[in-house]
């Protein structure tokens, strides 16, 4: 016996919406916290980067800190390095993740252990994987020792510089290790949910292997792949720990540069640190807008379903 009521309905689209007051009571606390702490934090950051110092008397806003940063040749170097590392890590991790997801979809239901192990990197803090990469790849690290024992190099000086290096190899390795499971699991969730049925339909319709990939799998996973990649890009663009431990001293990645200025003994450098933080947020915001624009344009041209 089911009790009919006006509340019952299949899903959110058909269910009658309760009064505004109920919604406010349910969502009010969460939205208030996010608006006050996140919105407030960004707003106050912006004000401070515009030279607003409450202690020194308010009022005059200036863009001189932004001008100083943008005019600094180091900033351009840092920005380019950061873009290069974030973009490369994201593209490499996304590419491997698509392959991993396709392999795991056939493997995972039968092999829960592999599936569980695959989740382990998600629980490992970035700080720990950075330390592990340093122990592995530093000139006196484990890899260097193995290569020397194999007789390929004759001293630690011959080992290629893979951490604190020009090309950010160590940083990217740490990020790729950490982000592949993140992206793969996001793709797998979608593939499991809708992809399998579609694939069966494709098989009945005699779609070839390549056709199934091109017309079924890629369009199905594209939205979540794009979203996951965007999150990874934003994270690698704005995270501090890994580049601080594995990056070179010049040029630094932007987050390290921002924090260096922010924590400078010279308090006048602080607004510049915050301004750099705001520029990081700006680049991330531009990336979101661009990604959305691109995927919409692609959808209009029928490139992706």
């Amino acid at each position: 016996m089911t009790v009919k009521s006006e509340n019952s309905g299949v899903d959110a689209r058909t269910r009658p919406v309760p009064g505004g007051w109920v919604l406010v009571r349910l969502m009010g606390p969460a939205l208030t916290i996010v608006a006050v702490l996140f919105g407030g934090g960004l707003t106050l950051g912006l004000l401070q980067s515009l030279g607003h110092l409450p202690a020194a008397g308010a009022g005059v806003l200036t863009v001189k800190h932004f001008v100083a940063i943008l005019g600094d040749p180091d900033f351009l170097h840092s920005l380019l390095l950061t873009l290069y590392i974030a973009a490369t890590s994201t593209v490499v991790a996304a590419g491997i993740s698509v392959v991993m997801a396709l392999i795991l979809i056939g493997l995972a239901p039968r092999n829960r252990v592999v599936h569980f192990i695959f989740q382990i990197p998600l629980t490992v803090p970035h700080l720990v994987i950075a330390a592990a990469v340093a122990f592995m790849l530093s000139p006196t690290g484990l890899c260097s020792r193995v290569v020397l024992k194999l007789g390929l190099i004759s001293s630690s000086a011959d080992f290629p510089l893979l951490i604190n290096d020009r090309w950010g190899i160590g940083i990217m390795l740490a990020y790729v290790w950490k982000e592949i499971p993140f992206i793969t699991l996001m793709i797998l969730a979608v593939l499991r949910h809708t992809g399998m049925e579609l694939l069966e339909v494709g098989q009945t319709l005699k779609a070839g292997r390549w056709q199934r990939l091109r017309y079924i799998i890629l369009p199905t996973i594209f939205p979540s792949l794009a979203a996951a990649s965007l999150i990874v890009f934003a994270y690698t663009f704005g995270a501090f720990e890994v580049p601080f431990l594995l990056g070179q001293t010049y040029p630094m990645m932007l987050p390290v540069w921002a924090y260096k200025n922010y924590s400078d003994v010279d308090l006048l450098a602080r607004p510049e640190g915050i301004a750099t933080g705001m520029l990081i947020a700006l680049v991330v915001a531009i990336a979101i807008v661009l990604a959305q624009g691109l995927s919409q344009a692609a959808r209009r041209r029928g490139i992706v379903l």
């Binding site: 009790v3 009521s5 509340n7 019952s8 309905g9 899903d11 959110a12 919406v17 919604l23 009571r25 349910l26 969502m27 969460a30 916290i33 996010v34 702490l37 996140f38 407030g40 934090g41 960004l42 106050l44 950051g45 401070q48 409450p54 392999i103 493997l107 592999v114 192990i117 695959f118 989740q119 382990i120 629980t123 490992v124 803090p125 970035h126 700080l127 720990v128 330390a131 592990a132 122990f135 484990l142 020792r145 020397l148 290790w177 699991l185 797998l188 999150i231 704005g238 995270a239 501090f240 720990e241 987050p255 924090y259 922010y262 915050i274 933080g277 705001m278 947020a281 915001a285 979101i288």
Partner: protein, 264 residues
């Protein structure tokens, strides 16, 4: 043929996940390990004796503080995030897209930007260098995750059960504890796990708001990494990984096939 290929892939995945832990474990059990020796000579527990002995109280204090910050953050995020997830999962209403964007932003914008902005304000409010301040800044990023998890849970939730309980005379509170809580419990555990893991691995926001006074485990580990004592840094890294791993293991039952998709 395909079976063999799959086995190789499975082996490769396991190896790739385990590989970074090998140098950590080896270094943590080395007394001395000069270049270019392949093995520590001698193996030993000097680092572990230091970490669990002389520095034991310091490490335990940091471990406890980290656990406490992450647990309080997770509980607050779940308590505040569950009702919001319920509203978003059950109903379509005007402005839902806007709410979704507002909640997505803290997931994407780096914590660094927000923590720097909040710092001065927190100093004024007396929240800087306090436990509460650190929890609040962590909550800024953890809360949206719990809302998103609970949003997903409530979009598959059947309200009829609550209506039936109510028609049988259950009070609002009884409906909450006897119907809603058991039905969504797995989701709540997962949401809490997300928030816990996210808070657990925070470094820079803790450093900025905590000002070095709230020494969580990552703060301590960072200081050790700088000191150059590899065996000690390696063993503290392991101490840092284990609780997060245990949290995953303990909630594996609730994760089911969903897995921890989306955690950062």
């Amino acid at each position: 043929m395909i079976g063999l290929a799959r086995k190789i892939v499975a082996g490769g995945v396991v190896a790739a996940v385990i590989l970074p832990f090998i140098p950590l474990i080896m270094w943590s059990f080395s007394n001395r390990w000069f270049y270019p020796d392949l093995w520590p000579r001698p193996w030993g527990t000097r680092a572990w004796e230091y970490v669990l002995g002389i520095a034991g109280s310091q490490i335990t204090a940091a471990l406890g503080r980290s656990l406490w910050v992450a647990a309080v953050t997770a509980v607050m995020a779940v308590v505040v995030g569950t009702p919001a997830g319920r509203a978003l999962g059950l109903y379509d209403f005007k402005g839902k897209d806007l709410v979704s964007v507002l909640l997505t932003l803290p997931v994407i914008v780096p914590p660094l930007c927000v923590a720097m902005g909040l710092h001065l304000w927190f100093i004024k409010l007396g929240l800087a260098e306090t436990f509460g301040g650190v929890v609040l800044v962590h909550l800024t990023f953890c809360l949206p995750y719990t809302v998103f998890v609970m949003w997903g849970v409530f979009s598959n939730y059947n309200l009829d059960f609550e209506d039936q309980a109510r028609s049988l005379g259950a009070s609002t509170l009884q409906v909450m504890y006897r119907v809603m809580l058991p039905l969504t419990f797995s989701g709540i555990v997962v949401a809490g796990l997300f928030a816990f893991l996210l808070s657990w691995s925070q470094y820079l926001s803790t450093l900025i708001i905590g000002g070095g006074k709230i020494t969580t485990l990552p703060i301590l580990l960072f200081a050790l990494m700088g000191s150059g004592d590899r065996p000690v840094a390696a063993s503290v890294s392991i101490v840092f990984v284990v609780p997060a791993f245990l949290a995953l293991l303990l909630s594996a039952r609730h994760l089911g096939r969903r897995s921890i998709t989306g955690v950062r």
